[in-house]
């Protein structure tokens, strides 16, 4: 059951990442978009809290797993965050 849940979480995460990172085809306009508008359209900025969460997972992984040699702690600490991110992508992708 745990394996199925992990596989499901990975599936949703990958599907959601592809969905979110795909740029939307906006209609070309005569006006050049402002810097703010361009930032708003940027996928990484649009979902900055998730980007921040990814950064945090990366630093926790690096610190706990590789530097401090705490693989079990790493697994327990990072797994719930991954589940939350998978849930987010599932909602955003609408699948």
């Amino acid at each position: 059951m745990v394996c199925c849940a992990l596989i499901d979480a990975m599936r949703w995460t990958i599907a959601g990442t592809v969905h979110v990172m795909t740029p939307t085809n906006s209609e070309p306009t005569a006006e050049t978009p402002t810097v703010e508008e361009r930032l708003r359209r940027n996928a990484l900025v649009r979902h900055a809290p998730v980007t921040a969460l990814f950064i945090m997972i990366a630093v926790c992984t690096t610190s706990l797993g590789f530097i401090l040699g705490q693989p079990l702690t790493l697994l327990v600490a990072v797994a719930p965050l991954s589940a939350i991110i998978a849930l987010f992508f599932k909602q955003v992708s609408g699948r």
Binding site: V45, R46, S63, L64, L68, A77, A83
Partner: protein
Amino acid sequence: MYRQIFTYPVFVATALLVLHSWLFRGRRNTLLFWGAGYVVAFCRELAYQNIFPSYRFTGAQFKLFNVPLTIPAGWLFEAYISLYLAQIIMGADLASITEGEARMTPKRYGARVLPIIGLSCVVTGTIAFAIENTAVRMHWWHGRGAGDGISPGWIPGHMFTVFWLTTLLLYITHEGLRLRRNLLYVGLALAFTAVVELVDVIGPAAKQHAWVMPLVIVIVAAYFASLFMWRRLLLFFTVFALAVMGDNPAALAARLLGKTEPRDTISLWLLWNMSVVLIYGLYLFKKQRPEIPVTPRQLL
């Protein structure tokens, strides 16, 4: 030496959050959220470091009244991410929450706003779990007598603080979500937060300031009761008790056997603690999630 690996990326991530707030929530709300939030979080740490010293910061350099300047920003980092994720996962929108009404009612607040704050606290629990594990082992801060391990009580402690912090910030930033009594409860709850930091603090603090404990329970109970949430009130206290008391059997057994409690390893009780929190999150998600996924038009 390794601290920079953690510090700099998290600085970048926090800057990204402020930028996100500026772009999608506007200048006014950004200044209110991050400005007022910083002051409140700073006051909380001020109380902890100077009046109720239940933990100490060992790795920070820039301090004001014993409070590292980065720590209040850390609370907002948690609160902002949690609120955003909870809102997106639940597909809640400001318009759907207010239902076009100018004034918020306690009943609607309990039905529409509180579940979002509840789920954001669950997200907070998972973030806290990762941060505490890393920070303690990186020697950023240490709990009183906790060694290199973390205590299960810290997770509900984070949830408790973020709950009241988010309640306050939603009150300040969104007129349509204002419930007058919230300010009173936020003030009371934050004032007593320092004494309620659960397992690690409850023991010593209860002995020194026993009169505070009934007050704390009455405040939380009165708040939920005032929102006509009797069933959720019961559920909340069940979850609260299950999560917080998770540490006690291990501590009790260690005391009975005359041994020191093993805090340097991840205990089963910590896992139990997280499991209860996550099951509560699943309940909120299943109960409140719309059938068709909705992307919120306005961020809370």
